[in-house]
Symmetry: C2
Subunit: 294 residues, 2 copies
């Protein structure tokens, strides 16, 4: 499994990916899923990949070969055309490999995210499906995810806005989204690749790989968990008011009330030290079911 | 789709469920997925259901009929035995309906969560699979989810501890977990049913249904979004230090740095007013892909 995401705001792009690849549970490898194509001052493309590693490697090899020969992504006149170039290579590898895969009941399964900018045009972000068709991120839906997308989505839904979120904030959201996913799902794992692309830079100069033991990654995780607990304390409190010894009826609906927390819970923070909050390490694993129908 | 969860701590149980049922996108109904069985002073069971509504209704009808006749859940000597009683009815309905369903390529798809207490024993929490076998929550894994489980899981992973989380806090986590899921997935929807069961109460006196327009639910959602943004501000800041005009290489890994936020970001909160934080409504919808393999 994989988790990659791209965020586009008016300030530029944030691209992030995990690095875990597995074929069954007993074969876990580290694979870089972030690929850059740069003509400084002219064009930048960042591609994130999920799906069968054999297939995504082929797609990237073909894209790179064309790019280095001055074709494909090297000449695409717009981001839309670049997304179509990526989609063409998806279809080419599909033509080559899909029949043999499907004969043995493997699915042709690749998803790619393409972010970048062509000189003179705004940065854009696309998702390319296994069928090769592209989907663009929009101002209303300014992020795209591939792979194990659900765990890391609520934080993005709550926080990312095309016209308000700075690139620095978007980078924090991306790290937290990836960290939340890694915590809840063992098939997504470090290192994390993070790339920031400010509008009109037309180069790639800001990227970092966070290893599993990266102290900055550990710090942001621990501080986030502390901050979440602080945030929970500040929410309206849930109060239980037993409604007598009868079985529950509609008349007892207010046996659970929300009230403002006592003063101590909100004013105890004047030193603003996250260390004030008791830290507790929640359990790491719990069985979850695959999405049944409700 | 559905999202239900149960949490067990040393203080008791929190049970919560959404109410959306759909058969295709154009037929959305409200269905109560929380069912209680009470013998005051003797035993309490709360069952949450996900899966085909026709099947879960049958299971609940059979459980209720036995219970009202003084059999089944009415006599189970322990929570484990009660989970087996539920599993037996799952298997009974499977025997009745599975062949006809599978002939038309429908899956036999039901998951149930059973929480409760039998007098003289501690409260327990079980998940019952479509095959009828039970899984118990443990002190290390003190919550169980069914349905659309992934969106709402990171907040539980970060916060719930069997021996530290109060029942009131657990209720907040449950509401936030459900709200996050509703925000990210339209197939999970209100009303939300919330039930709190304190150890040894042996009755159901604390429950509440939150409608879509419940002002308390809106308040907790808005305050949570404000608190998350505040929390993001307090995290170490991500700083980008451009590494020159060359293409990215390993030598540039520190072009993204994490540094403490400026004093204003952490000390500006002495009034502890969440209203200080600029509120922005993030976009609600974004296309997401089903879990490809990484």
């Amino acid at each position: 499994m994989t988790y990659c995401l791209g965020i586009v705001t008016k300030h530029g792009l944030i691209m992030a990916s995990d690095s875990r690849s597995n074929a069954g549970y007993d074969q876990v490898n580290v694979v870089k899923k972030m690929h850059t194509f740069v003509q400084p001052g002219e064009r930048v493309f960042v591609v994130l990949t999920s799906g069968s590693l054999s297939l995504t490697q082929s797609i990237m090899t073909l894209l790179r070969r064309d790019f280095d020969a001055g074709k494909g992504l090297a000449t695409a006149p717009s981001m839309y055309d670049a997304a179509r170039v990526v989609g063409e290579q998806v279809r080419r590898v599909s033509d080559i490999d899909r029949p043999a895969l499907e004969r043995d009941e493997y699915r042709f399964n690749v998803h790619l995210i393409l972010g970048g900018q062509v000189k003179g045009q705004p940065p854009e972000l696309y998702l390319v499906y296994p069928q090769g068709n592209p989907l663009a991120a929009t101002e209303e839906s300014p992020f795209l995810q591939i792979g194990e997308t659900k765990y890391g989505r609520p934080i993005l839904d709550r926080g990312i806005r095309f016209d308000r979120t700075t690139l620095e904030e978007a980078a924090k959201y991306a790290l937290l989204s990836l960290d939340s996913t890694m915590k809840s799902n063992v098939t997504v794992g470090p290192p994390i690749d993070l790339l920031a692309y400010p509008v009109d830079e037309l180069n790639v100069t800001r990227q970092r790989r966070f290893a599993a033991d990266d102290p900055d990654l550990a710090k942001i995780r621990n501080r986030w968990e502390q901050a979440l607990r602080q945030a929970i304390l500040r929410l309206p409190e849930v109060r239980f008011r037993p409604a007598g010894a009868r079985a529950a009826t509609a008349a007892q609906e207010e046996s659970i009330q929300l009230v403002e927390p006592p003063a101590g819970a909100t004013t105890g923070e004047t030193s603003a030290s996250p260390a004030m909050v008791e830290t507790s390490q929640p359990p790491q694993s719990q069985h979850s079911q695959q999405q049944p129908k409700g």
